[in-house]
Amino acid sequence: MAKIESVNVKKIFKIKKGGNQYDELPALGGVDLKIEQGEFMVIVGPSGCGKSTFLDLVSGLTLPDSGTITIDGKPVTGPGLDRAIVFQQNALFPWRTTLENVEFGLESTNPDRDNRREIALDYLSLVGLSGYHNHYPHQLSGGMKQRVSIARALALNPDIMLMDEPLAALDAQTREFLQRDILRISKESHKTVLFITHSIDEAVFLGDKVAVMSARPGVIKEILDIPLTAEQRAEDDVVATKEFVQSRLILWKLLKEEVVKVQESQIRFQNQAVAQSPARGIGNGLINAVRVLTKI
């Protein structure tokens, strides 16, 4: 039985138009995805295609409009301590020290104060932050903050880690270090990981499998097995291996089609705007097209 299974999951957002009028925004158009126990699954897709929406559904923070998501065969009906989320950035509580942040989830499950503290300190050292337990988030760098977020999620000892572009806001160097740590920790602790990114390199480096999501409404367009071994990934020159380069190229082609779709729909949208206000539309259309292309 798959650890996580999503069958034909759809999500439609209702956007208030004023009064009792709603616009419907189909975010997910029937997502099918199976993730096995211990697997590192990465989802890539153009910006706004519904990746975060899907992750929220797996976490149980929101519920699908149709279709089902099951964990170990049981349908998800809400959040659960078997799943922990790491968000993109600034999700640490600024009023808590790093230690208190990591303890946060434990407070409802573990009444033993000293034991809680011990566990939290362990996880802080696991992510390479021992000695920083009394720092407040604003005293940490972006990379350190994400390390604390990861420790906070791990502290609950969940089976599943849900990570929504956790490294997107970091500089290239910090990002690479954290990617290696995430890979190491997830394999050592046998977690099942669902990881979202819009970086192809990150997807290839981390994923056992990479699922490519289509432009909105998002569906899984293709799932690619990444043939890299753990040993290869541990090497510094992993990006130069044949397997890495080939996977990268395949993903790039798949994604480009989706990005072009987004771009075309945006230009169509812009053209409507041009008809209404000729002066502003063309420039914006170009800027948007460039913006969408450079996102990947």
């Binding site: 976490s59 149980g60 959040p79 659960g80 922990a84 989320i85 999700a91 808590r96 409802s108």
Partner: protein, 261 residues
């Protein structure tokens, strides 16, 4: 090293207080130069001497205590009403909030001085109406800032809390409350300042004690030095209240990044 630091600090203080010192010196010299009439605007030295004398006689203390008592009571009642109400409106009753917000905005905008006669008519001209009006003025900044503080809590904090299986109560206690605290404190500090403004006004209209009363009474008997002594005391007390509030705020939110204001 240390003495250098000290001299640097001293210089900073000197620069900061230079305008104040210049102002006081000018004020002091003005009557001697025939620029102002010392009968109407006595020089600072006379005012200072008067304050000292009022302190010794205990008169200043009596009035200050009377004023502070009123501010404190009105302020505490306002907190007791507005804080829970703000959390309820901002946190749980979204529809209720939409319904009552316009009304609250109008009530909050009503100039409290114009409402003064209403309070006097309802509560008499004794202590009750003064405390009442202070309560009225204080509750709005607390209420509005609490509601908006709760409503503008970053949704990602709530997501983290919910994903970790927090009960509604714990979500409120551990996430909403601390996240909204900075905004709540802004409201509290604003209302402390308002309370003090309002109090002096209230005491000028009908009172037998308090600093506002002292100002009006001294003016009535044309005791200008005493009047100015009371005015300066009010100003100093206002500064002190603001200072204490700031200290409390810093203390409650020591986790905050230090930003120069």
């Amino acid at each position: 090293m240390e003495s250098k630091e000290f001299i640097k600090k001293l210089k900073a203080y000197a620069l900061k207080s230079s305008a104040i010192v210049a102002f006081i010196l000018l004020w002091e010299a003005a009557p001697h130069l025939g620029l102002i009439d010392p009968i109407f605007i006595p020089p600072p030295s006379i005012i200072a001497a008067k304050i000292y004398q009022l302190l010794l006689s205990g008169e200043l203390l009596v009035h200050t205590v009377a004023s502070l008592e009123r501010v404190f009571l009105g302020f505490i009642i306002a907190l007791a009403v507005a804080l829970p109400l703000g959390f309820l409106i901002g946190g749980w009753f979204k529809t209720f909030e939409t319904a009552v917000d316009p009304l609250l905005q109008i009530l909050g905008q009503a100039n409290p001085f114009t409402l003064f006669p209403v309070f006097m008519a309802l509560l008499g001209i004794g202590e009750l109406s003064k405390i009442g009006i202070i309560y009225w003025v204080c509750q709005w900044p607390v209420l509005f800032n609490t509601v908006s503080g709760i409503k503008s809590v970053d949704p990602v904090y709530i997501k983290v809390g919910r994903s970790m299986g927090l009960t509604k109560f714990n979500l409120f206690k551990k996430v909403l409350l601390p996240a909204a605290l900075p905004a709540v404190f802004t409201g509290i500090r604003m209302s402390a300042v308002f309370a003090f403004f309002m109090l002096i006004g209230a005491e000028m209209i009908g009172a037998h004690s308090g600093l506002g009363f002292l100002i009006i009474q001294s003016e009535a008997v044309f005791n200008m030095p005493k009047m100015y002594a009371a005015i300066v005391s009010v100003a100093l007390l206002g500064i002190a209240i603001n200072y204490v509030m700031l200290k409390l705020e810093r203390r409650a939110m020591s986790w905050k990044e230090d930003v120069a204001v």
